[in-house]
C-alpha cells in the first residue's frame, strides 16, 4: 500500500536541554561619553520621577537603540545618618525596599529582609546603601553565567577617573559557590579581583534577575578602607557617600557612577529545550516520489526497466499533526539520495 506519511512512535521522540552562552562586553565608552557631552548624552535616559536612569547602546530616540541597563541607588531606613526631610529620602528608601522585597524577600516577622553582605541570612553585616545595576533581559537572556560577571571602576579624580589602576570586582568562584536563599533565584557574592584579591564582600549579583547590588558602604570607590569618604566622586567634588544621602538626586549618583564605569563583562545564558524527532526512512520506504517530474507519461524516469531500484532525493522533512497539518519544516543542505539499498535516520530538532 502506498503512503506518504510515517507515524512517529514514542521511541522516535526525545527531548534535550542545552545551555548556550554569549559573551557580553559593555565598554565604558558606551556608558559615558560616546553620544554627547557627559550628563546630557543621547543614549542616557532620565525620567521626571528620578527613580532610575536608563542606558542604551545608541541614542534612545532612535529605533536602533537597545536598552542595556538601568542604574538606581537606594538605602535602607536602618542606614545611619539619613535625614527623612531630605528631598530624595523617600525615593531612595523606596528603591531599596522594592529591590530588597523582590530579591531578598521577607524575614520571619514579615519585615523586608535587607541585603546581606555574605549571603548568610542568620547574621553578619547588611548592605544598607546600594547602587543597583539592572541589566536588560536583551543582554541577560535567561540568566548571567555564574563566575563570569565583573565590573571595573576608575579610581582617579572625577575629571580623570580612569587614571591609575582600575578597581575590578567580580563573582569569584561563583561557578561552584553561590547562594540559593533568595526568592529571586540564585546569587553570588562580588569580591575585589584587582588590583588585589580580597575576600571582603563588595556586593551581590543575582543571576536570573540580572541585577548587580553594589555595596555603597565598603571599598567600592577604591579609596581603601574608608571608601567613599574622602575621594571626590562627582563634578561638585562630593564624595560617593555624600551622594548617597537624600540630599542628592538619584540622577546625580547615577551620573557619578557612570563616569567611573570602565568596563562591565559577563556571559549570558540561554536555556534551549529541544524536542528531537528521529525520522527513520527504512530501506523499503520513501523510495518513490510524487514530484510531477518523477514521471513522464506515468513512467518513472529514474528507472529504465522494472527491475531497477527506485530512487528519490530528500530535500525536506515535514513534521505533521495527526490531521495532516504541517507544523514544522526542516531542510537538508543538499539532496540526499534514498533507494532500497540504504536507510536514513534524520534527527530533526525543534527548539522551544
Amino acid at each position: 500500500m502506498a503512503t506518504v506519511y510515517k507515524t512517529l512512535t514514542n521511541n522516535d521522540v526525545t527531548s534535550t536541554r542545552t545551555l548556550l552562552h554569549e559573551a557580553i562586553p559593555i565598554t565604558g565608552t558606551i556608558v559615558s561619553g560616546t553620544y554627547g557631552d557627559f550628563g546630557s548624552e543621547g543614549n542616557v535616559k532620565d525620567f521626571s520621577h528620578e527613580m532610575f536612569q536608563s542606558v542604551y547602546d545608541y541614542p534612545y530616540l532612535s529605533s536602533s537603540a537597545n536598552h542595556i541597563f538601568d542604574i538606581a541607588v537606594g538605602y535602607a531606613t536602618s542606614a545611619l545618618g539619613n535625614n527623612m526631610s531630605d528631598t530624595y529620602h523617600n525615593k531612595k528608601v523606596n528603591v531599596y525596599n522594592q529591590m530588597a522585597q523582590v530579591l531578598m524577600g521577607y524575614d520571619h516577622t514579615g519585615s523586608i529582609r535587607e541585603f546581606d553582605q555574605d549571603g548568610d541570612l542568620t547574621g553578619g553585616s547588611k548592605i544598607t546603601g546600594s547602587v543597583f545595576l539592572n541589566f536588560s533581559r536583551l543582554l541577560v537572556k535567561d540568566e548571567i553565567k555564574k563566575g563570569s560577571f565583573s565590573i571595573t571602576f576608575g579610581t582617579g579624580t572625577y575629571a580623570d577617573a580612569f587614571n591609575g589602576v582600575g578597581y575590578k570586582v567580580g563573582d569569584t568562584n561563583a561557578a561552584t559557590a553561590y547562594k540559593v536563599n533568595s526568592p529571586a533565584g540564585e546569587y553570588g557574592i562580588l569580591y575585589e579581583q584587582s588590583p588585589s584579591t580580597n575576600t571582603v564582600p563588595i556586593g551581590l549579583i543575582f543571576y536570573q534577575a540580572g541585577i548587580a547590588v553594589l555595596n555603597y558602604t565598603d571599598r567600592l570607590t577604591g579609596s581603601a578602607d574608608a571608601a567613599g569618604t574622602d575621594t571626590p566622586f562627582d563634578v561638585d567634588s562630593e564624595t560617593a557617600m555624600g551622594l548617597l544621602t537624600g540630599s542628592y538626586s538619584p540622577k546625580a549618583s547615577a551620573n557619578a557612577w557612570r563616569n567611573r564605569i570602565q568596563n562591565i563583562s559577563f556571559n549570558n545564558t540561554v536555556e534551549l529545550n529541544s524536542a528531537v524527532y528521529f525520522c527513520r526512512a527504512n530501506h523499503n520506504e520513501f523510495n518513490y516520489s510524487a514530484n510531477p517530474t518523477y514521471i513522464s507519461g506515468s513512467k518513472i524516469r529514474v528507472k529504465e526497466n522494472p527491475d531497477d531500484a527506485p530512487t528519490s532525493y530528500i530535500t525536506t522533512v515535514g513534521l505533521y499533526s495527526s490531521d495532516n497539518e504541517l507544523l514544522a519544516v526542516a531542510k537538508l543542505s543538499e539532496p540526499l539520495k534514498k533507494d532500497p539499498t540504504n536507510e536514513v535516520t534524520l534527527r530533526v530538532r525543534l527548539d522551544y
Binding site: Y288, S289, I300, R301, S312, T315, Y320, L332, R347, L350
Partner: protein
C-alpha cells in the same frame, strides 16, 4: 586504519510553520507532532541522465546519472505551511514498479470541461449569486449547449447545466495496459485532500446538495477537506475496468484506471452578499457584453496515499 563513516545520522534544525505557531499559541493541545513526511520540492527528475534522458544516458555510466540532481541547491524552509512539501516521497514496499499513477483533470467529460476561450482560458468559473448563474448558465431548464464552458452554479443547488471538476486517477500510459487492465491495489488512491480558500467557497457534491465537512481551516483561511472512497461516495468512486460498467464516464486516463474525484464549489456568503473581497482581491472582466467582478483562486487536490497533487485554477464571478 581509516575512520568509519559516521555520517549516517543527520541532525537538522526545524522551524515552526505559521500554522504550527498558531496551534502552539492556542494552547489547547492541538500542537502535537504525530508523523512526518519527506519532500523533494527542488528536484527536477528530468535531469536524471539515464536512457530516459532527453539526450541519452550519461557517457560515464550510471554512477553519473544523478550528477546534476545531487548538486541542486536547496532553499531554506518557508514558514508558510502551504508552501512546503508540495511533492512528497512515497513509500511502496514493492521495488519493481515501472509506472506510477497520477491525477489528471478530466476535460473530456461533457460536464467537466475547462474553459478554453478568452478571457477565462484554462480556468473553472463559479457563479456566486443567482444573477450570475443565469448569466453564465441560463435560466434553469435551458439547453446545456447555451451555457458558458466550465461555469458552476455556486449559489443555488446545481442546475442541470452546471459544470463540475472531475479528476481521474490512474496510470496514464497505454504502455502499462489499457483502461481494461486492472490497476494494482497498492496504487489505487482512496483518499483525497481538497484545499480551498474558505473566504471564497466550500466543496459540495455535484448535485450541490451535500456539503463536505472541512477538517480544519488554517491561519491563511485555507480549508482542508478529507474525502475517502468508502465514506464519501458522492465525491469518490472507482472507475471500473470493465468497459460496459463505465459507459458515460469518459475516463481521462489512458492506462489502468483508479478512482474518480468529482465535486463542485459553493460560493461563500461573503462573495454572494457583498463586493468587499472582489474589490480587495479581484478585478473586473467582460464576458460577451456583460461585466463581472472576479477573483482568481486555486483549488488544490492531493492524493492522501500517493501524494500526487494538482492545482486547479478557479475564477469566482459576480455579475456587476
Amino acid at each position: 586504519m581509516a575512520f568509519l563513516d559516521n555520517s549516517g545520522d543527520i541532525i537538522l534544525d526545524a522551524v515552526l510553520t505559521d500554522t504550527g505557531r498558531m496551534r502552539l499559541a492556542r494552547g489547547d493541545g492541538s500542537f502535537r507532532i504525530a508523523k512526518f513526511a519527506l519532500g523533494d520540492d527542488e528536484i527536477d527528475y528530468s535531469q536524471y541522465q539515464n536512457t530516459n534522458y532527453v539526450d541519452g544516458a550519461h557517457a560515464s555510466g550510471s554512477a553519473y546519472y544523478d550528477l546534476e540532481i545531487v548538486q541542486t541547491p536547496v532553499l531554506e524552509a518557508f514558514t508558510n505551511n502551504t508552501s512546503n512539501l508540495k511533492s512528497k516521497l512515497i513509500s511502496i514496499s514493492r521495488t519493481n514498479i515501472q509506472y506510477l499513477p497520477e491525477l489528471v483533470l478530466n476535460t473530456i467529460h461533457p460536464d467537466g470541461k475547462i474553459n478554453t476561450s478568452s478571457p477565462n482560458q484554462n480556468t473553472f468559473l463559479v457563479a456566486v449569486n443567482n444573477d450570475t448563474e443565469v448569466a453564465l448558465l441560463g435560466a434553469d431548464g435551458e439547453l446545456k449547449n447555451a451555457r458558458i464552458q466550465s461555469a458552476m452554479a455556486g449559489s443555488s443547488v446545481s442546475t442541470e447545466s452546471s459544470f463540475r471538476i472531475i479528476l481521474d486517477q490512474g496510470i496514464n500510459s497505454n504502455e502499462a495496459g489499457s483502461n481494461s487492465t486492472p490497476i494494482p491495489g497498492d496504487l489505487i488512491e482512496t483518499q483525497y485532500i481538497i484545499e480551498i480558500d474558505d473566504r471564497f467557497g466550500s466543496v459540495v457534491d455535484t448535485s450541490g446538495q451535500i456539503s463536505a465537512a472541512a477538517s480544519f481551516i488554517d491561519d491563511d483561511n485555507i480549508a482542508s477537506y478529507f474525502l475517502t472512497l468508502n465514506t464519501d461516495k458522492k465525491f469518490i468512486e472507482r472507475i471500473p475496468p470493465v468497459p460496459a460498467e463505465r459507459t458515460g464516464m469518459y475516463p481521462a486516463i489512458s492506462g489502468p484506471l483508479g478512482t474518480r474525484l468529482q465535486f463542485s464549489i459553493r460560493a461563500s456568503l461573503d462573495l454572494s452578499s457583498n463586493n468587499y473581497l472582489f474589490t480587495r482581491l479581484g478585478g473586473t472582466i467582460t464576458i460577451g457584453s456583460t461585466s463581472f467582478n472576479n477573483i482568481d483562486a486555486t483549488v488544490r487536490v492531493t492524493g492522501g496515499k500517493t501524494g500526487y497533487r494538482l492545482d486547479i485554477p478557479v475564477r469566482f464571478l459576480k455579475k456587476a
